[in-house]
Amino acid sequence: MPLVHLNVFRGTPQTEGGYVGYDVPVEEGMVVLDALHWIQANEAPDLAVRWNCKAAKCGSCGCEINGKPSLACKTRMSDFGPDEAITVEPLRTFPLVRDLVTDVSWNYEVNKRITPFTPPTDGDQADWRWQQEDIERVQEFRKCIECFLCQDVCHVLRNHETDRPFVGPRFLVRTAGLEMHPIDQADRTADLKDGGVGYCNITKCCTEVCPEHIRITDNAIIPLKERVADRYYDPIQIAWRKIRGGRSGTGGGSRAGESLPVLPGGSSTGSPPSDGAGS
């Protein structure tokens, strides 16, 4: 069997990290995660890599492969040239745990602050009728497997461009899925403003890396930006709402009082030295 050379980042925050080379025999149809498992079974049983389903359905095995945020279970070894070395690194935007595993807990903290699904309190569920074409956009957002590749590639988060909260593409997608749900009653416009939707400058890097092919920028972020702009920056809309006595713009507010966490800053000791991805 032909051998392919993998450079795998190994290290912890406490130690000087570095790349370790492994020559892995490659068989037909193999993916990068198979190669990492081969290394675990034959060369380095303690190699840390997070994975679950091995079918691009759970979003656990996100890492950076030759600089591109990717799912290791979906990246074919045959995508690379026969003499091309393959470099595998952890997601750089998040603090390192060890080897290819990073601490993504910040994402779970941000998620807690999103106003949850809020159905109407009156009416009978048996009467709910939604047409398939009306829910397809929401279903697109609900395809998200929470691999956090979009969070990893987003330059606002990756380069710590703000010391104010920015929830990142994943949670703008989740918010869009709630806001566009046919019967959701909450108003998350104020939360979106606080969550820094304005920081996104539509470079579409998130859309490019999404393994579920969700059109994050076009279908989720831009419509949400428009809602915020209409509410807070459009003088005609503001005047119209005053006349009509419309919604106040204070948001769903169920999470009021809890401030959004900012992604822990700066690259820590032991992180991979170079940066090939991001924009």
Partner: protein
């Protein structure tokens, strides 16, 4: 290195955050309990996410002839009447409410033409019954439950592995484990514990299950003195991927057949016609033409009198058929058979089966809208499990509950597709509520035994010993090879005897397993404790399979090919006696006449 473990007291501790664990945690929290939820992976990554085809419930949206009674009957018939009838009844009665509840919590299922929840047909179900979202229903369910649990403020302990249950006097009162990200030990004290850890697939070589499914809950319950039942009934899903090697065993949803997929051997023969069980033959189409009419009606969203295609036989039967075709030399190039849906319009296939389309295109370079897939059986689901009370999920050990795949009884000798997602909702909720009630009746702060904690900490340290020993990966490979070759789809006395001997050998070597590296996120170290669990459940499967001298559902004995009325009245029972595994049987729970009539009236 490691000091005194962190200690986290809760009213109810739920171990496992798949569908059953999440639903139990939500129910317990809504009943007023302080709940902790522990999971080996990140939240939302549990194997429920891989469920594809749908959740079975007689909503009657796709066919108004359906009812809970029919769902009950289908489940019992599919389970070869070995199911706990009360569980099958509660499941069929409550599934529609549980599915509607998910919708009220934000789930967005595919719709019928008149805007209600759409249902698709599946093997063994008399009517289209599975509410679904394309072929990613599990993701929709887990995300909905995850969001609900987060909104309820449930404390989640992610990437934490439980290795020991802690007992005090006559009750289970806590759990001991370690943080995977640091390797540090952790103790949970709880007034009631719910096990919801899923299945055992990783004990086999070819499986649709992820690394997490190592029989943890079954083994923890067994070690704590609870009974396991019907452990010989392992479901081999008929359709897993067979190529490329890296994805061998990966699930190909039954929805492919539900939407009209046809199975053929290398000669192009639609072989399932030859494998339909005689006593159920009248439930299936008589000809290709009738089967096509059924598919056409399905595509058009209308009811039909045409009967379902032969591919929608129950999973045990289809798996045996495919295995036999391959074994007799009529298989596909990579050792499977062909599954073809490409005769439907490409757009329909992509819309109904989007993740199958991507999976085959990305991983196998196969366009399923243009040609057939190659598929073969894969270890998928454990029908047996911890013995539970149907109403409450209480195990035979005080303070310990179980729900979902880890519990036994609901599915009998063979589970119907779609009944697992409804099972985890129905019994997740019941068990969570019962655990909260149990906790409310315990007024003391739970005590945990410092001697047991010290012993558990020694167990964690043992694999780092300096004396030479086996590599856990090698032991795991030997275990998988043993189960795959000797305790698979077709079994014999000689093979099972051989397997039990080999497992005993592996068990004897287990204490001397050694690992390198540190404790931080060390998968080899984690495998050591999962191996202990897999060895226990593997032995339970092999011993139960040897005891049951008949063929029923997923358990096929070449030396006892017939169904036995005597065994049809018995559950297999596994319990620990000292250091020995004791395998016996107990009478099936009796079935009330009104339920029995539902099965016999045709």
């Amino acid at each position: 290195m490691t000091g005194v473990p962190d200690r986290h007291p809760h009213d109810v501790l739920v171990i496992g955050a798949g569908g059953a664990g999440l639903r139990a945690a939500i129910a317990a929290a809504e009943a007023g309990a302080d709940v902790g939820l522990v999971c080996k992976s990140l939240l939302g990554k549990a194997h429920t996410v891989m469920a594809e085809g749908g959740v079975a419930a007689s909503l009657r949206n796709a066919d108004d002839r359906d009812s809970w009674q029919t769902h009950f009957r289908d489940t019992m018939v599919g389970g070869k009447l070995l199911n706990n009838p009360r569980m099958a009844q509660l499941h069929a009665q409550e599934a529609p409410d549980r599915v509607n509840e998910l919708e009220a919590w934000g789930a967005v299922f595919d719709r019928t033409r008149d805007g209600r929840i759409l249902q698709r047909p599946f093997g063994g179900h008399s009517f289209p019954r599975l509410a679904h979202v394309g072929d990613r229903t599990g993701l929709e369910m887990i995300r909905t439950l995850q969001d609900r649990a987060v909104a309820a403020g449930i404390k989640v302990y992610m990437e934490c592995t439980v290795t020991h249950l802690l007992t005090w006097t006559d009750r289970v009162r806590g759990a001991f484990g370690y943080w995977r990200t640091s390797g540090e030990p952790v103790v949970f004290a709880a007034k009631a514990i719910v096990l919801a850890t899923g299945g055992i697939g990783r004990a086999f070589e070819v499986t649709s299950n992820s690394w997490e499914l190592s029989g943890d809950g079954q083994a923890l319950a067994y070690l704590a003195g609870a009974e396991l039942i019907d452990m010989e009934f392992v479901q081999f899903h008929p359709t897993g991927m067979v190529w490329p090697p890296g994805v061998r065993g990966l699930l190909v949803t039954e929805a492919v057949r539900g939407e009209g997929g046809i199975l053929r051997n290398r000669d192009g023969e639609r072989f399932m016609w030859r494998y339909l069980p005689e006593d159920r033959r009248n439930e299936y189409a008589a000809t290709d033409e009738e089967a096509s009419r059924w598919v056409e009606a399905l595509s058009a969203g209308r009811q039909t009198d045409a009967r379902r295609p032969p591919e929608l036989s129950t999973r045990d039967n289809v798996a045996r058929a495919i295995y036999t075709e391959v074994k007799e030399g009529r298989g596909s190039p990579h050792g499977g058979v062909f599954l073809d849906i490409s005769y439907l319009p490409a757009e329909t296939v992509r819309r109904k089966l989007p993740s199958m389309y991507d999976q085959f295109k990305d991983l196998a370079d196969v366009d399923i809208t243009a040609g057939p897939m190659e598929v073969g059986p894969t270890t998928h689901y454990m029908m047996g499990g911890i013995r539970v009370d149907p109403e409450t999920g209480a195990t035979t050990r005080a303070g310990l509950f179980a729900a979902g795949e880890v519990a036994g009884g609901m599915h009998g000798a063979n589970r119907l597709g779609g009944n697992s997602l409804s099972d985890l909702l129905v019994f997740g909720r019941r068990t969570g509520e019962a655990a909260a009630a149990e906790a409310a009746g315990q007024d003391e702060v739970p005590q945990v035994d410092p001697v047991q904690i010290r012993a558990a900490m020694d167990d964690l340290a043992a694999p780092f010993g300096s004396d030479p020993g086996d590599d856990p990966h090698r032991l795991h490979e030997e275990l998988q090879a043993t189960m795959q070759s000797l305790v698979g789809i077709f079994r014999t006395e000689a093979d099972l005897h051989e397997a039990i001997g080999r497992l005993a050998g592996l068990h004897a070597r287990w204490p001397s397993v050694r690992v390198s590296g540190g404790r931080t996120y060390n998968p080899g170290w984690g495998l050591v404790f999962e191996l202990r669990n897999m060895l226990i459940v593997a032995e339970a499967v092999a011993r139960s399979a040897r005891q049951r001298t008949e063929s029923r559902g997923a358990h096929s004995r070449i030396d006892y090919p017939d169904i036995s009325p005597a065994w049809g009245r018995k559950n297999s029972v596994v319990r620990r006696e000292g250091e020995k595994m004791k395998v016996t049987s107990s009478p099936l729970p009796s079935m009330p006449d009104d339920l029995r009539q539902l099965i016999t009236s045709e």
